[in-house]
Symmetry: C2
Subunit: 281 residues, 2 copies
């Protein structure tokens, strides 16, 4: 067992799945589930994700040796400030937020007696809440960890053990690089999938003309708006830079179309296809 | 049996699948397969898509009561001109091209003794060639037909019967509307999926950071560059207009990010999600 007592704050789909997977693998003993809504807490108990529950983060972390923050990203910095005075010495704190720079920065204010390591599991589902929790959710997926030069190697090793124990692939990266690259590989694609939907003309009844290509390309636009609002706002600068790069590429396509330049189109499309082939797992 | 003798010109994935499906359903008697390369013709015979083969379109159409053009879109207008003098009276000519306006216009020069009706089956595969032909390829998919005011009702009824007979849903639309709406629902999404790949920075090793969202959003960028060059060039004007609409939407997202305007982001994202939900079949 890596941790005796974990506090999972924001015990929804991700937090609940982590609790189920780590308990099943014997990596964690007792799980205290934390959420604001009583129904969420009851669901967490019902599916066995939490052994006990509370709506008070300060109380939940008091005896924990692992604190896992799984709320929407913008809630994490204030939560870190709220639990800071209550964290026991030696406690390992981590999170599952999709952006990392602002969270790692906020964690700098935690007491020196605890360790914070940022995390980002590249998994999810269109569902939400602990009722949708799945102990297989992390299997085969990338799991980013953002240790710093000050991270104690023992704590990093324990967290890597936890990530591997639930079947994910730990990938170490610094928070700034994580956010810059994810802007292009995740946040901008989400924004663009949504923008393609926004740009459809409803009078044209686009649903009559939708094929599998459009459905694939826009699938992630079905995600929850508030979660993606937070991610896009947290990483606004990097997302805007990635969008500026995309606009330059769109300019190239537009120029090729305006000039009926088939060779330029083929070059762009073939380069895209080569890149796309490299993205398969 | 709706047609005694069909000439399928360009007997690749689509043409081969159509031949297999129509023969299986007893809708077509004899299929003459046409392609330029001998290997393609041998494959078409081997899988049973063609009963006889030739590399000469003029010879293939001579005794046909159905001519199906399944080449890349830009090859169709010159093919129509080449076969025009050899088409028997009463012959029904149709095609499977992804753009329709230029093809329907070119078909205006066919003899008055034959009927042309444009077609566009919304199906496909990452594979190509008659070796990949699948008699189930059309089942459950949309199949656009672009009759005009001059189309004889009997011919349209026969073609609708063929489309329904292979399990597809016939959808009647004029060629200009087809191309305008497909620019937004198919051609631009393809271009954007490719552009998202082009905008990735290879030094960042984006493959390490790719999740299922990116893979869905860019899946169609794996398609054949020459086919998509043709489609984009054929429909350049409508695609550029759809791209201009997309750019306006991207401006709205960019402004919301610059102003950290969470409400504006949520409004855009929620509208996108509502539209996306309407696209499911």
């Amino acid at each position: 067992m890596l941790f005796e007592r974990a506090a999972v704050i924001g015990i929804g789909l991700i937090g609940g799945s982590l609790a189920l997977a780590t308990k099943r693998q014997g990596l964690v003993g007792h799980v205290v589930g934390v959420a604001r809504r009583e129904n969420t807490l009851l669901d967490a108990l019902r599916v066995g994700a939490a052994d006990t529950v509370t709506n008070d983060p300060a109380q939940a972390v008091r005896d924990a040796d692992l604190v896992y923050l799984a709320t929407p990203v913008r809630a994490i910095p204030p939560l870190l400030a709220a639990i800071a005075p209550h964290l026991p010495a030696g406690c390992l704190v981590t999170d599952g937020g999709s952006t990392k720079r602002a969270i790692v920065q906020a964690a700098g204010a935690l007491p020196a007696s605890v360790t914070f390591i940022g995390g980002h599991p590249m998994t999810g589902s269109e569902l939400s809440g602990p009722g949708a929790a799945d102990r297989h959710l992390f299997e085969g997926s990338n799991y980013f960890l953002t240790p710093t030069d000050e991270t104690p190697p023992d704590d990093l090793a324990r967290l890597i053990g936890l990530v591997e124990g639930i079947g994910a692939r730990p990938t170490l990266v610094d928070a700034a690089t994580h956010d810059r690259v994810l802007a292009a590989t995740s946040h901008l694609p989400h924004l663009v999938a949504a923008a393609l939907c926004n740009a459809l003309v409803s009078e044209d009844k686009p649903e009559r003309f939708a094929g599998p290509g459009l459905r694939d390309t826009t699938r992630i636009a079905g995600g929850p708006a508030n979660v993606w609002r937070d991610i896009l706002l947290e990483n606004a600068e990097d997302v805007r830079e990635a969008m500026a790069r995309l606009r330059e590429v769109l300019d190239s396509y537009d120029a090729a179309l305006a000039d009926a330049d088939g060779d330029a189109l083929v070059e762009l499309l073939e380069r895209a296809r080569d890149t796309r082939e490299g993205l398969e797992p």
